[in-house]
């Protein structure tokens, strides 16, 4: 296994997965930060699901959804000609799904802590609801959103159980650092595992460091 290739692939997947969940994650977190609405608890549970069940089970459920015969998978394959399982796209989906609850829950706390008065002030200054959201509520929640994104990114780096279910190992195509570490660990090759482990840690450290910098610049 080419360490550099694995590292870049993992980085790309984790970044893409994090970016992918930001828009729906932010929207959902904001909704969940609002006072009770019907079905809120159900939506919350659904979002938290990948956390509470073992990754293998999540992988199985995903497989049933995006597999060739699954409702989503058959749509993509027959309508758009896109194959998902056992490609990098599956890796992306698995990491995104597993990271999603982490982002949403952290972002929700951030939204809850924003004083609603600032939104009101923005409205009196002529900002519509969307405008006020993007120029006031969102920046004021930025710290928390960033923390959530870093958490999601870190989780994406480490995601393994669901990935292997729906993406498998296609050498050169779907091996991530986590898969590599697992591989080496299974074979008792602790030295090789340590190399990949060190890279994971360095990446996580980099992400955390970067987020600290961004927060400090924002404050």
């Amino acid at each position: 296994m080419d360490v550099l290739q694995i590292t870049l692939f993992t980085l790309a997947i984790a970044l893409a997965g994090t970016l992918l969940i930001l828009p729906p994650g932010i929207a959902l977190a904001w909704l969940l930060a609002r006072p009770a609405w019907p079905g809120k608890a159900a939506v919350e549970t659904l979002v938290a699901l990948p956390l509470v069940i073992p990754p293998v089970a999540t992988g199985l459920i995903l497989l049933k959804l995006v597999g060739r015969r699954g409702p989503l998978g058959s749509f993509f394959e027959n309508m758009l000609g896109i194959e998902i399982v056992f490609t990098w796209k599956a890796v992306l989906i698995a990491t995104a799904v597993m990271s999603f609850p982490l982002f949403v829950r952290t972002a929700r706390v951030a939204f809850e802590e924003v004083d609603p008065r600032f939104n009101q002030v923005a409205r009196t200054l002529g900002a519509g609801p969307w405008d006020a959201f993007f120029t006031v509520t969102l920046p004021l929640a930025a710290r928390g959103l960033l923390a959530g994104a870093v958490l999601a990114f870190a989780r994406a780096l480490g995601e393994f159980g669901a990935t292997i279910m729906i993406a498998g190992v296609i050498p050169g195509e779907t091996i991530t650092l986590a898969l590599g570490i697992y591989h080496h660990v299974q074979l008792g090759r602790d030295a090789e595992a340590s190399v990949l482990l060190a890279i994971s840690i360095a990446l996580a450290f980099g992400a955390l460091w970067l987020s600290e910098r961004l927060v400090r610049k924002n404050a």
Binding site: R117, F118, R123, T124, L125, G128
Partner: protein, 366 residues
Amino acid sequence: MSAAASIHARIRVAHPGFTLDVDLALPGRGVTALFGHSGSGKTTCLRAFAGLEPAASGFLSVNGETWLDSGRRHRVPVHRRALGYVFQEASLFPHLSVYQNLEYGRRRRPPAPAAPSADIADLTGLLGIGHLLDRRPQTLSGGERQRVAIARALLASPRLLLMDEPLAALDHARKAEILPYLERLRDALDIPVIYVSHSPDEVIRLADHLVLLSGGRVAASGPLASTLARLDLPPGFFDDASVVIDGTVVAHDPDYHFSTVAFPGGELRITRPSPDVPGRALRIRIKAGDVSLALQPPDGTTIANSLPARIVEQIPAADPGHVLLSLDLGAGTRLSARITRHSRDRLGLAPGRQVWAQVKAVAVLV
């Protein structure tokens, strides 16, 4: 006045333990002062005007635009109401610099180029915040924050200005600088201003119309002069009863900074910091406590004004040692005098009696 009224508000807001229930017809331009004790519902009223009280029901129209009509389920969202709102408490965006705060509303509702509030440099200069533009709100003093909030509201091209004690955090000198600016603004802008203040001086200086709130209800509403002249208002609303007289400058002595103001029923001599042009309209306020009465026209004193007057009414004042006398200067112009009961009896003053009302030139507020 109520014929020309062009703000109509029949609003109800119910909070647990407090209900605002007002029915107001206010002038469509000029300043309406909202006055009332702490907790009487002033802020709630402004918030309802702005559309920030979800519980508000009733009817609200501002210069022809209907902003709320619960009956027809009509409710204009906050940002479509062209407002400027200076909140009672600091409300600057903490994530933006002072300059970005000022630009926030301005960019969304750019002013017409000729609008008096258009020039950001002028405005910040006047408010003494020009040197703070790059700072974050967290590092400003209380008064600095409030001045930035005023500038921000003015820069958002409002067609209704709501100001909740905008000057409360400011010292006398700063107020004295800003008040004339607000006056100019009031005269230049063709928009209504609703102004909450606990300062009678501010209210009397700026307002054309006065609303007194008490326990969520309207205790009085009307043009400033006639509402103020009512001696029957609940005591304690103002520090002193006073009258407002609208007159015209008839002479000016630039050397002594001394003007003569004529009004139906007489003339008053007052000082004016800046030159006056004869013919200019001027509103003057005379507090009851600044008026003394004499039986003869006084002579050889520094009191510049003594006006013949007839006592028409007397009522007790808030202070048990005082009495309020309402005086007729002729032609319907009234003056109030607050004197000690002791002096009243000493001089035998009573309704019907003819006296000389003495007013120091320095005691007349413009």
